[in-house]
């Protein structure tokens, strides 16, 4: 448990440091994730040590967005004044994006005739 959490934090730390040092346009944790993925690919396996904490964190991923969401109360005035453009933009853009991504990817899979099987066994 402790080793796994330390590992996740260290990958995030390395990600943050590299992003700051190299001036990369992406957030530290995303680079940390890619570095961990590269490590797992090179090792050809995950370990129980990192799997436990990873599953613990991802099992309740939605909890982690609650504090930012409560921040809506700070912007009550602006949201009240501009509720129509904000609401319509959010709803329409969310539905359009979902469809654009799904239909583009499905079209590409069909055009390329990729065999789709669920090999989620690993």
């Amino acid at each position: 448990m402790l080793a796994g959490i330390t590992l996740l934090l260290c990958y995030q730390l390395v990600g943050e440091v590299l992003v700051a040092a190299l001036g990369l346009p992406l957030p530290g944790p995303v680079l940390g994730m890619l570095l961990l993925l590269v490590t797992l690919v090179l090792r050809r396996s995950t370990s129980a040590r990192v799997e436990g904490p990873a599953e613990g964190l991802l099992g309740h991923l939605s909890l982690l967005f609650v504090p930012a969401g409560v921040g809506v109360m700070v912007h009550a005035q602006r949201l009240g004044g501009e509720w129509l453009p904000i609401l319509v933009a959010l709803v329409a853009s969310t539905l359009l994006t979902l469809l654009a991504v799904a239909l583009t990817m499905r079209l590409m899979v069909r055009l390329m005739r990729i065999e789709e099987g669920d090999d989620a066994a690993g």
């Binding site: 957030p27 995303v30 994730m33 991923l61 909890l63 930012a68 409560v70 959010l90 390329m112």
Partner: protein
Amino acid sequence: MPLGELGQVWVYLSASPLLWLSVTLLAYLLAFTLYRKAGDNPLLNPVALAVALLIVILLATGTPYATYFEGAQFVHFLLGPATVALAVPLYRQLGRLRRLWLPVAVAVVVGVTVAALSAVAIAALLGGSVETQLSLAPKSVTAPVAMGIAEKLGGLPSLTAVLVVATGILGAVTGTRLLSWCGVRDDAVRGIAMGVTSHGIGTARAFQVSPAMGAFSGLGMALSAFATALLVPWLVRLLGVSG
């Protein structure tokens, strides 16, 4: 206990991070229990329920957001290690990812473009202020990235954080139904669509549907973080919106 002593306990508790950390966890547990009892009904999104409950409590006790966040920041902080942890489910889907990399890459670029352009254009057409338009541009991407982009564009980072959470909830509430309704059944396609549109909140919902959908949603979220950081400032300039 006399009222005066109770008041002192409140003064002590409200100054310590313990109170609002505990209340955040309790509100989420209650919201999550309701969501589970309703058979994982996406309309009872646990983030939306917990946020609503917490706002009622904060308003009732006259607690400012800054005081609340002193406790809640410990939960907020875990977004970082949780993002790193997405490498684990992603590794398990590596076989499918190798076959699907090109469709995934094209879909992510299309999705990021549609997400930013449609939000900015609709807000502009309906008379939203320039600050609001700029704060909306990065709304489909995970909070820390979106806030950084909003700041660079001249939007309001804290407003963007709220719009990001709202987009996440909207995608989580509507995504699975909309995609099923359009006949999209493949977990890889559904996952990428959820992750690109609704970042971590969509990914949380995707993991509740299946591990494969969750893994691809995590991938979609990570790739769209890259693509948004690179493309959105340029797209916004193209639209001629500036703060």
